[in-house]
Subunit: 204 residues, 2 copies
DNA sequence: TAACTTGCTTACCGGTCGGTCAGTTAAGTC
DNA sequence: GACTTAACTGACCGACCGGTAAGCAAGTTA
């Protein structure tokens, strides 16, 4: 111990959790390439080699963080949505809850693992990219099937279902780029606005 | 000349144009960080030092490419839109033409300078970022003012204008992520679909 | 107390990055 | 053919990257 920095030794799982958490925050704020393993190590308070005692590689780290983002989305939006029987209510649920999730994790200069799901695909290996894409496809299919059901019920406007599904997602994901928690609209309000606009554009 | 590669000497402006064009394509396809100056040099057919004879730095290169993307957007969408007197028609013009522009430059694995305007902000210096943000703000203000005019005319639904403007942009920008020229919808069709969905969500 | 495990450090590796510099070579001009 | 200009090369630089090997030191177990 040469300087005043705290030198607390942590248990393996504690340290691992801390590394993932710190790395997630840094990567979301500054980008994957702009965040070096030494940066992460310094922020955690140990050496780079110390980090590699717990983490196999930088790519695995990114994959784990993005998987965590997907886990969050599934837990907060996708799985609960499946419990909603009515198609229109299910769609409303998806829009508002996903919007809230994005808005909740937006800060002034950083994003959460839920939002970098989209941005850092280039850093992944082909195998990892394939896995995450598949999970995303499940989500898109959930939205599309809700739209198709509405179409079958004659409630949908005369629009292409695919274009509708992705336009919906675009509105929601774009939130991360402009929403500010200290703005004039609260998280709840902005989620409500997006739901209004989207449902107005889709339903007859 | 050691191998069979062509060794045509070009004039300064020709070479400069070629470098910008090749670099733009590569950076859009593979990302800014994943494209090294040596990669660009090799693709152009000269040495890295040769590239630096025409280009001051990598950051300037990125800024120039993104500025070009913004130029394109202004020429194809923003400036012509100002000539449309009716607010509703102006909004329709913006949506369809911006969508067409995005769709036109989407390929299977690459994007054009118009689409990376969004993705590679992190690679810019603060001063450059500020300049581009200001140009983007002008565009957002154009959309917002059209919406406000519609609101004053009582044609707009009861929605927040800011949320509406950004939702619109989200739908359009997201196109770059899912539209494929070989898909079942043509560029014109997809632009029309987005216009329908958006206008349906915004207008009474 | 001795053996073992494990959290962690110091020192280092090969490789690549953006960028520079001192020249070399081709083309244009007089 | 001499001179100038400008396109371009080859060799190199320091910095930093992701990742590793060997060993130390603190806690656990026998």
């Amino acid at each position: 111990m040469k300087n005043g920095k705290k030198q607390t030794r942590l248990s393996g799982s504690e340290r691992t959790d801390q590394i993932y958490s710190v790395a997630a925050q840094m990567i979301c704020e500054r980008g994957f390439d702009a965040t070096s393993m030494s940066d992460i190590a310094e922020a955690v308070g140990i050496t780079k080699a110390g980090v590699y005692h717990f983490i196999p590689s930088k790519k695995e780290l990114l994959f784990a963080i993005m998987s965590y983002g997907m886990d969050t989305l599934e837990a907060a939006v996708i799985n609960p949505a499946r419990e909603v029987a009515d198609a229109e209510q299910r769609l409303r649920f998806i829009i508002t809850n996903h919007s809230m999730l994005i808005a909740r994790s937006s800060t002034d200069d950083g994003h959460s693992p839920v939002t970098i799901l989209v941005e850092e695909e280039l850093g992944l290996s082909p195998a990892h990219r394939r896995k995450l894409r598949q999970r995303k496809r499940v989500y898109v299919d959930l939205i599309r099937s809700a739209l198709e059901q509405l179409q079958a019920d004659g409630k949908l406007k005369d629009i292409d279902v695919t274009a509708a599904a992705f336009s919906l997602l675009g509105m929601i994901m774009w939130l991360a780029r402009w929403f500010r928690p200290d703005g004039k609209l609260s998280r709840e309000q902005v989620a409500e606005e997006i739901c209004k606009i989207a449902m107005g554009g889709l339903l007859k």
